[in-house]
Subunit: 386 residues, 2 copies
């Protein structure tokens, strides 16, 4: 694809500071004017924030009492009338983004991790730490209704470009070890706002599962021959019965050891594609369209917007992480149109998972759904020009 | 307490084989006659059962498609009328226990782990295994209604004695590495039957969190001085602000790094009390009454039966597990009378937990609740005499 064809997809980034001190980054087409900010709401005092270590596992738990005051607008946001919009804090003119915008990222008003975390209170030796990190909100669009399934493909490509931009920026801070873009869709998985948006956490230490993935990569490199992620890509490529669809740069499959009936991983085939910032333009474009493709399959599965957890799993800053292949992993809690998989005692207290569904069976279901998928060649990954 | 006072609490155990081949163990007072068994239901064919390894973490996932056919009787079981009882498979005369009983343990009709698991299907090298283990159901009483909070204290003591009896018996099988008695209470945590009961899983390998706990104990023993569990008991004993109540042989506290707002751990103070089978009679009695005490506080918290996950965390068969102190750990999902803690993307995909509530604040709430707790000295741990 020529540079000229890319041109219309370039994004600009403008940075503002909310009157309460939080940063806002606006992403839009070149020529969009930067709005003026009205006075904002005061930020909640995050003095109670700190991390505590569960000595029995080594895991850190973020103690974050202010989060109990998060906004709940689902009841009103469910309506699609214009009258419902003012109740949404993410709509243009709301308290978070009090002006027109195309897409935006802002510091979460209810963070559990903050860049200049206060010194933690006294605690047992080695079991307490400051809540250092970042919690950001990513508004995919100023439109109140819709989802990744219904956005224009260029808007989904913009979301991926924003994730990439924030990943690069956050990792410039030497205190940040891992960046996790994610989306919780649906009340069933704890989403409190229905406006199309996701979030982004930056951690100053590896979260437990991230640390174990890096350890597994390192162990495989030391005891076997080569890259564990390449092996997984090979296993998925050799199992068309678990493929959800074909793609050039990624495998799109229900993973071999899926924990959730309709779990889907979109995993980079190329060794070296460890983070969003490593992606070539054609990979980035394909990734956005594959994400939309999977969400459209989810929504076609039972005829309603299937709730899901979605994370961009990318290499943290850690020795051994060079064998990480970027993936987007989607975990819908449904195991039937009216039944959810519940993590009960076994899953929660021992980590052992039980999956009621054969991964090959759910992959076949998802692969056969008739969805409208635009041709990937029609779109290009947007670059961002601050 | 004299031997004479213990005598009335002795239990007998009778073993039967269901016509479909599953084992039933009946626990009751001496003199209870062993009933005859009518023809039973055929057992589901568990040929699809196997384990798959998530290579990225090393965790094993049990693939168990037959579980989708589990019975659902909540709608009818919610009623307390006699007419509702026949719908319950756990009531006397039902398909599982077709005779009068006092308390019983039987092989789960919908197991995800079985003693003589079939050879697994073909799969990637090292990533597939047989589903070897045990899944049992523990009926606390033949009464259809009630819970650990409302049972007679001697009935709760009988439950603990049954857990102990099964732990010892299951660990006699050299293939079994870990035994987990547990209870899921409430539809919110996936309980499909309301008859007072729990379950018991026996694993042929350490579940992920169990393995990490053993690794933490070993690491602490090697790098620090002594037993990590003793250190935790000391930390809890020195923190009355997290104590839910006093006890002689156990700490009863919201743990320092609680993941759930109303999480409570009942942990053995004595080094060497690693499994139920290690408990002295006075410890076992106290444990039962403390369990009931905590559940009564839960039910007093908001005025309804608080759903919870409850696990008996005891030492697996593994090097380093000698520093394990037995605990009963209760995890209620509620963070308010009408709000649940939801594990969304961050918790699920990275293992990092965020707790909205200060452990000290919820401990104070639980500690202050006026509940009726019987004096511990009034009861003794039942012995079991097969």
């Amino acid at each position: 694809m020529s540079t000229a064809e890319h041109a219309s997809l370039h994004l600009t980034r403008a940075e503002l500071v909310h009157p309460d001190g939080r940063r806002i980054r606006l992403y839009g087409n070149p020529g969009a004017s930067t709005p003026a900010l009205p006075p904002g709401l005061p930020q909640l005092e995050p003095t109670a924030l700190h991390l505590r270590c569960d000595a029995l596992t080594g895991d850190w738990v973020a103690v974050s009492p202010s989060r109990n005051r998060r906004p709940l607008t689902h009841a009103s946001a469910g309506a699609t009338t214009a009258a419902a919009a003012p109740a949404c804090p993410l709509c243009p003119g709301g308290p978070e983004l009090p002006f027109p915008y195309e897409a935006a990222v802002f510091d979460n008003r209810f963070p559990s991790l903050i860049p200049d975390a206060p010194a933690p209170p006294d605690g047992p030796d080695g079991l307490i730490a400051a809540s250092t990190g970042r919690c950001e909100v990513v508004c995919y669009t100023s439109q109140h209704t819709g989802s990744v399934a219904t956005l224009h493909p260029e808007q989904v490509a913009r979301v991926v470009a924003i994730w990439r931009d924030r990943t690069g920026a956050l990792l410039e801070d030497p205190r940040i070890a891992a960046v996790l873009p994610f989306e919780n869709r649906g009340e069933e998985v704890g989403a409190t706002l229905s406006h199309p948006h996701g979030q982004l956490y930056a951690f100053d230490r590896l979260p437990p599962i991230t640390a174990r993935r890096v350890a597994a990569l390192r162990r495989h490199r030391e005891t076997a021959d080569g890259c564990l992620s390449c092996r997984l890509v090979g296993i998925d490529a050799a199992a068309p019965e678990r493929a959800v669809r074909d793609a050039e740069h990624f495998t799109v499959a229900v993973p071999y050891a899926a924990r959730w009936p309709y779990e889907v991983h979109i995993r980079a085939r190329r060794h070296g594609a460890s983070r969003l910032t490593d992606l070539h333009p054609e990979e980035q474009t394909e990734l956005a369209l594959l994400l939309q493709d999977v969400v459209r399959r989810y929504d076609a599965l039972y005829g309603f917007e299937l709730p899901y957890l979605c994370t961009v799993q990318q290499a943290p800053r850690a020795p051994g992480a060079e064998d990480w292949h970027l993936s987007i992993e989607l975990l819908p809690p449904h195991r039937g149109p009216e039944t959810l998989k519940v993590r009960a005692s076994v899953e929660t207290a021992t980590g052992a998972f039980i999956n009621d569904t054969l991964p090959e069976a759910s992959a076949a279901q998802l692969a056969e759904l008739p969805i409208h998928a635009p041709p990937i060649a029609a779109y290009a990954a947007p670059g961002i020009h601050p």
